[in-house]
Structures are given as C-alpha cells and as structure tokens.
Symmetry: C2
Subunit: 217 residues, 2 copies
Amino acid sequence: MDKIRIILVDDHKIFRDGFRMLLQSFSFVEVIAEASNGNEFLSLITDQQADIIFMDINMPQLDGVEASQKALEMYPDLKIIALTTFLDDDYLEQMLMAGVEGYMLKSAEIEEFEKAIVKVYEGGNYFSDEIVSLLSGKLNMLRKKKEKKDNLPEFTEREKEVLELICKGYANKQIAEATFLSIKTIEKHKSSLFQKTGTFNTVNLVIYAFKHQIIKF
Amino acid sequence: MDKIRIILVDDHKIFRDGFRMLLQSFSFVEVIAEASNGNEFLSLITDQQADIIFMDINMPQLDGVEASQKALEMYPDLKIIALTTFLDDDYLEQMLMAGVEGYMLKSAEIEEFEKAIVKVYEGGNYFSDEIVSLLSGKLNMLRKKKEKKDNLPEFTEREKEVLELICKGYANKQIAEATFLSIKTIEKHKSSLFQKTGTFNTVNLVIYAFKHQIIKF
DNA sequence: GTGTGAAGTAGGGAAAACCCCATTGTAATT
DNA sequence: AATTACAATGGGGTTTTCCCTACTTCACAC
C-alpha cells in the first residue's frame, strides 16, 4: 500500500520539524513537502500530489483561511486539516466555510493525529473534541438568542397567510389576487401586523420577520 | 464520590434492559429511573434528581425532541444525551436546537458511552464521530450553496450605502436625511439597485439582500 | 480637445402603500 | 337575549414609492 502523502504548511520551522518527526513515526505516512506560508503553499501545490494538507491558520503573507479557499478553488478534492494553537471562534467558522475536512489543536495527542489522518484519508472528517464543544456551544448560543426573542406576538390565520406572502415579495395587489380578497383588506391585515410587531411599513415588517426567523430562507 | 445518576428514556424495553446492563458495568453510574416515552419521562422528572438523561428520539406519544424541549424549559440545567438508531438530519438539528448536550448512535461502542457520560457530567458535550461528520457535511452544503449564489452584482459606493440603510428599515426620506441627499436621488440609487439585483421594489430588494447575506443580522 | 460612458444628482407624474374609519360575522360572556 | 371582543372585510384620501426623463461631473480614450 502506498503511503499517505502529506504537506505541512506552517510559518514556524521548529513546529514543522517537530511535526514532521511526529508524522514520520507513523509507518503509513510520508511528508512530501513543506511551506512556510500560504503563497509558498499555493505555488508548490501544482506539481505535488498530496493526500492531506496540515494547514496552520495564523501565517504571514497569506493566512490559512485564504490559502485554503484558493487551494480548494483550484483543487476541490484537496483534503485540508486546519491546525490552530488556540481555540478561535472566528477562524473556526471561516475555515469550515472554506471547506476543510478537519480542525485540530496543535496540542493534540499523537493518537489524535493518527486518527485524524486515517479518517480524513478515508473521506471522513476529524475535529478535536474541543472544536466540537465550541461548535455545540455556538448552537446553544443561537438557541438561547432565539428563545429570548420568542415572545412573538400571536397572529391570526389571515395575518400569517399575508405575512408569508409578503415575505415572498408579493405586493398588495398580488396578495389580494392570491387570496381572492380586496387590496383594502390586505392593507388592513398588514396594518394589524405592523401594530403587533411594532413596525410601520412593509420593509420593516420583512426585516422583523427575518430577524425573528418567522420565515425560512 | 456519589454515583452519576442516569435516567433512560426509550420505548423499547429490550433496549432499556440492555442499555441498563451496559451502564451498570460502569462502577460510577447508577440508573435511577426509566421511561418508555416523553410523557412518562416528563411526569417522573419532577421528583428525580438526575445528572444525565439518555433520550431516544423516535418514541410514541411524545417524541424525544418535544420531551427534551419541555424538560429543558422546566429544568434548564438538565443534561440530555440524544440517542438515535440512524443518522437523521432533521432530528439532529431539532435536538441540537432543543439544547441537548450530546448526540450518539445507539450502536456506539461501550467506551464511547463511558466517555460521553464523563464529558457531559463534567459540563462538556459529546457527539459521535458520525454526528460530527454529518454536521460538517451540512456546513459544506451551506458553503456550496453560498458559493453558487456568489455571482453578486457589483454596487457603487452610494448604492451600497443606500442598501445598508434600506436594510435597517429606513424609508427614502430618512435615507435622504441621513445622507444629505434629496429623496429623488435616493430613489434613483434604489432604482439602480433594483435593476442590478433583478428586483422591482424595496421589499424584494430587502429579501434579496437577506437571502444573499449581503447584510448581517 | 472632444467623445463616451458611468456615477451622482434631481423633477413630474403614475402607482402603490399607508392611515383613519366603518360594517359584518362569530364566538364567548353575562 | 344582550353585550363584549375580535377577526375579517372594505372605502376615502394622504403619503410614499417608483418609473421615465434630464443635467452635471469626472475619468479615460481616441
């Protein structure tokens, strides 16, 4: 069986050296290249057939986020595992959106790296426990935010119907046609919606609806 | 040290029996109660001081999602670990939003359950690898969806300024005052925005902006 | 230097949205 | 049976929005 080919991207040579040593202790991997920043990585990736990239996030010139985005644009099948020193919310989200397959702390145990390499090589994902906790925490925050705002006013059937059509972008006339009501009636229902939501025109009502997630994207 | 008190909620007695046996093999846990559906669980939770709930999702009468929501409303400090037979997207999201601390497959290894109990008891989270992969996959889908929609038109400075104010709910008059321009000018910029975005009134423009995430909540 | 094109600035007039007010129907309360 | 409450339905008239058209400026090209 061929060895799993790995590229290291990190601006600290000492870390790269240490990490390479660590990886070499696994018989099934091979470090085929190294880069000290995003630009260097992008220029060497063309003629290297790597299986997995270990990508640091904080780097001079071109950081891990942009480097990953650009690399994945050119080679969508690349498998990137992000490496970070600290837990950092902002980067986590950005890297996930960039499309990395894994996200780990540099302080992870040797066994974790082994597990991550195997899982990602086989097409899966790997995230450190700490990362998962962070993600879950974010979800919890979302939930609490939503709860807090859930003192939503109660709408009548017609109002809900009208609100939904409004949020689809329907004008009064179109809503009237869709519901077989007169424009005047629609206007009245909207008026009630304004009052209940504390808004004063359609635009504000739509914004309200989006913010309170009354409507789905 | 006191044992970790656990309640099992699952509609299959055989599973509860097997799971209780499994848990009893851990010296540090104690199964203090069982329920066969959400309603039963809600009625017994009042006088039980449980540390962790293992909650099945598919159950008759009251399913795991609603049971968890209601239980957490009454006792926000409850720690619930969701159990599921298959990977199911819909429920995953609902359970996370309900605020569970863990999510596992019933087919998990014994060591996984041990790890999950300890982590959640200590205030952390636990999610099976498969669940994490699923979550990560969802993020990737989000990313791709966003990318596809990223052929956004280019706006001029004024247009961006006006759009931002529109999305704050400002009427033409207010925008004019805020920018020291005439209403007519604002109208023209909006007109350009309509054309560039393929919309035809302010409401549609706002919806467009939200859907394309031009504006942040 | 004289087009050419894009951004920014408006006016006039039609259309839509909005506010105040009125009527009907229905269900719960007394 | 009368009263109250409120959803649902609209009209009249004002305000806001929107479309069509036009002028200025500025940069860049020929």
